[in-house]
């Protein structure tokens, strides 16, 4: 079993940082629900169940502090969403942040979209490191001066101040989703974005909050006929007219917005054929796609279902070009995983910057990486036990048979409460962020 995975050079993943509380009792609000690097990788945002966003910024290289090169430290934190109540349906609207997506940077400020089940917000994060002093009508402490006592005028001067990072909501996109929003995706035109709930997908303009175009609607006339729901959606990275959405039945539809205002008829339909005689009670549930991500190149897309990750070539609809087993040993545990609801866990997946490797999470705080070129894979663990600075991570192995080797862990000993649902890969470097319940781990490649 190789120690590393990577295209060309083997990666050697080392612990870099861990953020979050250390106590055993995890407050529900602290559970991380989304992790996302921005386009340059300089910023790393997390959202949690309590509706809060924390943004980390990478430290610049500095001769004074060589050890903190590449470390991520808190840059800004704010309350993005608050709990709300839908009086008409007697339902609570959770403040949990389902997704964060960054906008490409166009000026000094940073912008991101964050969404809960019902409302999307555009946040502006800007720095302030100067303030004006020497106002004519105000004192230094802000008190108004008596205008009759002012005998001369002066020009206020800009003086440096301690850096302040401010987050302000610039747009609120509300009331467009009857069902729960599962995805948002910024279009490559940098003007529009899509939001998807269980049954509908809407297209928004970033500047306009009072209207939105419905581009996909799979709600049946009679809800008794409901057979599938939308589970994820994403815009193509280069073609602003193309997007995909995945379903609970394990299918992906690619749509072209040039074809019509309503994209109910797909342009491409991706589905892996299945032998009907092999179907079990669990087949459909474990085939439900929990995440879909285009490769950076735009040529491929990756889907995550309960037990595997599949890479699809956009030019081939009838089957994926690559399939990777994440935790096949769970197939013999499906009954108990159904009973404890774990079978409905929604794992995400991500590509590295060059599309040569993919990563996804599993249980017991394990996460998996697959090298598409060498076909090697590795299982690593996010744990405070391996948290010495720059300590190399040891590969982990789950044993399925009777004989358990030293250092292996048996399937029955896995902790199903320790799930890694959200991971992110730096867009350019070998730095990864892994969310383990209420802790955020950052790992770096030794050769970085």
């Amino acid at each position: 079993m190789m120690a590393g995975v990577g295209g060309g050079n083997d990666f050697q993943w080392c612990f870099s940082q861990v953020k979050g509380a250390t106590d055993e009792d995890v407050a529900e609000a602290d559970i991380i629900s989304t992790v996302e690097f921005n386009y340059s990788g300089e910023l790393l945002a997390t959202g949690d169940k309590g509706g809060r966003v924390v943004i980390f910024q990478r430290e610049q290289e500095s001769k004074n502090r060589p050890l903190s090169r590449g470390e991520y430290n808190v840059y800004s934190t704010f309350q993005s969403h608050e709990p709300e109540f839908d009086y008409l349906k007697s339902l609570e609207i959770e403040e949990k942040i389902n997704k964060i997506r960054w906008l490409p940077q166009q000026n000094a400020a940073h912008f991101l979209l964050s969404t809960n089940d019902k409302t999307i917000k555009l946040w502006k994060i800007s720095e302030r490191d100067k303030r004006a002093e020497g106002y004519n009508l105000k004192d230094e402490d802000g008190r108004l001066r008596d205008p009759f006592r002012i005998t001369s005028l002066r020009v206020p001067v800009l003086m440096p101040m301690d850096l302040m990072v401010e987050a302000s909501p610039r747009r609120i996109f509300a009331n467009a989703h009857t069902y729960h929003i599962n995805s948002i995706s910024v279009n490559s035109d940098y003007e529009t974005y899509l939001s998807a709930d269980d049954l509908r997908i809407n297209l928004w303009h970033l500047e306009i909050t009072d209207r939105s175009f419905n581009i996909v609607d799979i709600k049946p006339a009679n809800m008794e006929e409901l057979t599938e729901v939308i589970t994820a959606a994403e815009c193509h990275p280069h073609q602003c007219n193309v997007f995909v959405y995945s379903s609970s039945k394990g299918t992906i539809r690619l749509c072209d917005m040039r074809a019509g205002a309503l994209c109910d008829r797909h342009s491409k339909f991706f589905e892996e054929p299945e032998d009907p005689s092999s179907r079990s009670f669990f087949s459909e549930i474990i085939s439900s796609i929990s995440d879909v991500k285009f490769s950076h190149s735009g040529r491929y897309m990756m889907t995550r279902d309960y037990l595997s990750v599949k890479v699809w070539d956009l030019n081939m609809e009838n089957r994926p070009v690559e399939t990777y087993q994440v935790h096949e040993y769970l197939r013999s545990k499906l009954c108990s995983l159904y009973e404890n609801d774990c079978i409905f866990d929604k794992f995400e997946c991500c590509w590295n910057g060059s599309d040569s490797a993919i990563m996804t999470g599993s249980y017991n705080n394990f996460f998996r990486m697959f090298d598409r070129n060498t076909r090697r894979d590795i299982t690593l663990e996010a744990s405070r036990e391996n948290s010495k600075p720059r300590a190399m991570l040891k590969p982990r192995k789950v044993c399925t048979g009777g004989k358990r080797k030293k250092d292996e862990i048996s399937v029955d000993s896995l902790d199903f409460n320790k799930k890694i649902l959200h991971t992110a890969w730096h867009p350019k470097e070998n730095v990864i962020a892994v969310a383990a319940t209420n802790n955020l781990y950052i790992f770096q490649d030794k050769l970085n």
Binding site: K19, G20, A21, A27, A29, D30, I32, T46, D48, G50, G51, R52, V54, V74, T77, Q79, E82, P83, K89, S90, L91, E92, I93, E94, D117, Y179, H180, D198, L199, M223, E224, E225, L226, T227, E228, V229, S248, K249, S278, S280, F281, F282, S283, E284, I285, S288, R331, S332, K333, L334, C335, Y338, E339, D341, R375, N438, L440
Partner: protein, 116 residues
């Protein structure tokens, strides 16, 4: 990485497939033993509708009174052991809430520990 001949790999792959199907069907049998009334369409309407309605339900006096009126007129049929029943989630109006059902009050908003 194993170094097998193409024909051998095919036979192995077939065996693996058959194994997978066996495991799943074994698990299915286990589940049906525990919950004999489980519907045959697990991915069908009920499961999906439960998914569409996630979130804590609150006491609704309108629903409560309507449900009471329903039970006065007829005996409620023996509930089917759908997945909905197992988790205790119910569509509003079908289940008369009791104080035990009401969720805890949310704690007041504090800063994230990630930023601490």
């Amino acid at each position: 990485m194993e170094d097998t001949k193409p024909e051998e790999t095919n036979v192995e792959e077939q065996k693996e497939e058959e194994n997978k199907i066996c495991l799943e069907k074994l698990e299915e049998a286990k589940l049906k033993d525990k919950y004999p009334h489980l519907g045959n369409k697990p991915g069908g309407s009920d499961l999906l509708r439960k998914r569409l309605q996630k979130g804590p339900k609150y006491f609704d006096s309108g629903d409560y009174n309507m449900a009471k009126a329903k039970t006065k007129n007829k005996q409620l049929p023996v509930a089917q052991m759908e997945k909905v029943e197992i988790t205790g989630d119910h569509i509003t109006g079908d289940h008369i809430p009791t104080p035990q059902d009401l969720p805890q009050r949310k704690p007041s908003l504090v800063a994230s520990k990630l930023a601490g």
